[in-house]
Subunit: 136 residues, 2 copies
């Protein structure tokens, strides 16, 4: 139903990163899941993705866990979203020219691309620090 819906994947990922930003030293998936009320096994997968994309660094074995690769101020929300869901694309049209075949030129395409741009700019202009800082 919604035009844009933020998946639990992104919400959980963001909250997990926010939790890690408030900690020095690694935190395990179980710890984060407990603190944030997120299903543990589900969160594991999300943290794995964030690790694969380079936003997190993981240490295996006892006393292991996850920690941020960068200071919170250097992590844009766009990078988080893209790590978890790939590139943002409102419509097939927006994939590029030739991607749709209505009329001669798909007029709405420019419009949807503009929306994508607006969203991208918002997400790129905010960092993890902005998200967790009540005074921003």
């Amino acid at each position: 139903m919604p035009l844009f819906q933020v998946s639990t994947r992104i919400q959980y990922g963001l909250r997990a990163l926010a939790y890690l930003a408030g900690k020095d030293g690694p935190a395990s998936a179980t710890e984060i899941a407990g603190a944030e009320g997120i299903p543990g096994k589900y969160l594991e997968g999300i943290l794995g993705q964030l690790t694969a994309s380079g936003l997190l660094r993981s240490e295996r074995g006892k006393n292991g866990g996850y920690r941020l690769s960068l200071p919170a101020a250097e992590v844009t929300v766009l990078s988080i979203v893209e790590a978890l869901e790939g590139e943002i694309r409102p419509t097939e049209c927006a994939a590029g020219p030739g991607a749709c075949d209505h009329d001669l030129a798909c007029l709405p395409r420019r419009f949807w691309l503009g929306l994508k741009t607006a969203v991208d700019e918002y997400l790129r202009s905010r960092t993890l620090l902005d998200v967790i800082d009540p005074a921003s």
Copy 2:
């Protein structure tokens, strides 16, 4: 997978309205569907919603059809989206305070509300005319 996904409902609705904007006199659902390559019966439902919301006016019976209630320049895309999908809401959090229960205050809420605002502003600032005018 996408952060924001424009449903076919909205895409079809927008294209149908764009078609009507380029015509004087009513067009039937069948005509629009044929011109735009949209499943006819499916489009009927969409046009019905747009009519119920006041964006279109319909005439039944032979030679009937749909026409815009207002000039294209006075129809914001936001009104179209809301007619077809209701209010935009990125997360449960964004519904208002108390809608989520993580931590003491849900820190990401402000962030998601900001995203909603950015999207709303974009959609409110564009009219149907902007969508169909190649020079805008």
